[in-house]
């Protein structure tokens, strides 16, 4: 099922065992090769940010995200993840750069598969980009294959 970052933002995150609301979707941590979602950022910022790994998501539903948690949500790991939660690597409004070195607008939204967490495409200010063309997401740019 197709979802987008913009759509999913603000959705409640519910713990599967207690049915308690543990947070809301604040953002997504995407791997640096822009293939899929690594974790969901649900609360806090910077070093105090709470994230849930995608592997702990039982179901990314249309109205709520059900998370299977053995313990409390983890605080972030180092490196790329930390940058992402600090807001340094945010897919949205990031510049889009093709592999030939030409800018192709900025990211408006990112589409993903709600079951696998794989990115299926990006909507940019200059059009739709298929997931197969996404190469990497860094603090400088979303790099896509040139047409």
């Amino acid at each position: 099922m197709a979802e987008t970052f913009n759509h999913a933002e603000g959705r409640s995150v519910i713990a599967a065992d207690s049915a308690e609301t543990i947070g809301k979707v604040k953002g997504f941590v995407v791997d640096s090769s822009a293939t899929g979602i690594e974790s969901i950022h649900i609360a806090g910022r910077g070093r105090r940010a709470l994230v849930i790994p995608w592997t702990s998501i039982r179901s990314f539903g249309a109205d709520a995200v059900i998370a299977e948690l053995a313990s409390a949500p983890e605080t972030v790991a180092q490196g790329h993840d930390t940058d992402a939660v600090k807001g340094k690597i945010v897919a949205r409004s990031t510049r889009v750069l093709d592999t030939n070195g030409f800018e192709q607008g900025v990211v408006d939204d990112v589409m993903f598969d709600a079951v696998s967490g794989q990115l299926t495409g990006a909507i940019t200010s200059s059009g739709h980009v298929d997931g197969s063309r996404l190469r990497s997401l860094g603090s400088y740019a979303l790099v896509i294959d040139a047409e």
């Binding site: 750069l97 800018e103 400088y140």
Partner: protein, 203 residues
Amino acid sequence: MTHVMRAGDLTGLPVVSIRSGEDVAEVRDVIYDSELHRLIGFTLNRRGLFSGRMKGVLPSASLAAIGVDAIMIESEDAITESTDQKALEDPGSATSVIGNRVLSADGNDLGEVIGVIITSGPTPAAVGYEIAPVDNGDSVFVPISEQLALSGDNVLLPVGATDFIRHDLAGFGAAVTDYRTSTLHPTTSRPTTPRSTTPPGDL
């Protein structure tokens, strides 16, 4: 159409890794071999607040592409500290074409070289010079090729090259394509003399 740009405009462009999406450096200087009409590579500056010269350099062979907005590399590994290109370590040793006189094949002084024009894309090449005309008018662009003769202070264009001189960079991109085609396949109007062909059996 070939997209062309001034080599000098590359200065300050970010060097971006395709693997990470990070800007790992920026162009400090463009090193160009004027005898071989070849881009040797770039010396680099650090990005951001603590900018300053980087130890590593970027040889042109390690480029993924040169674009209008960024220099693309596959990964940070493209930036190296050891290179067999002396000119990259000591940019002063590269022969410079800037300031040379450009003469047409029939001996007209066209002006002075003020810049090198390169093609963008995955296989960047030097394709022209920007010239400040003798009469101090707007600069013009002349195509270059292997046939061009170069001394310490003069550039002598081959016959026919003057037909492809343009006054704007955008039009020059198209002219370069035409010029390359014309030098690769010399004029079709020339009477064709049958070439001696080797019968396949003799191979």
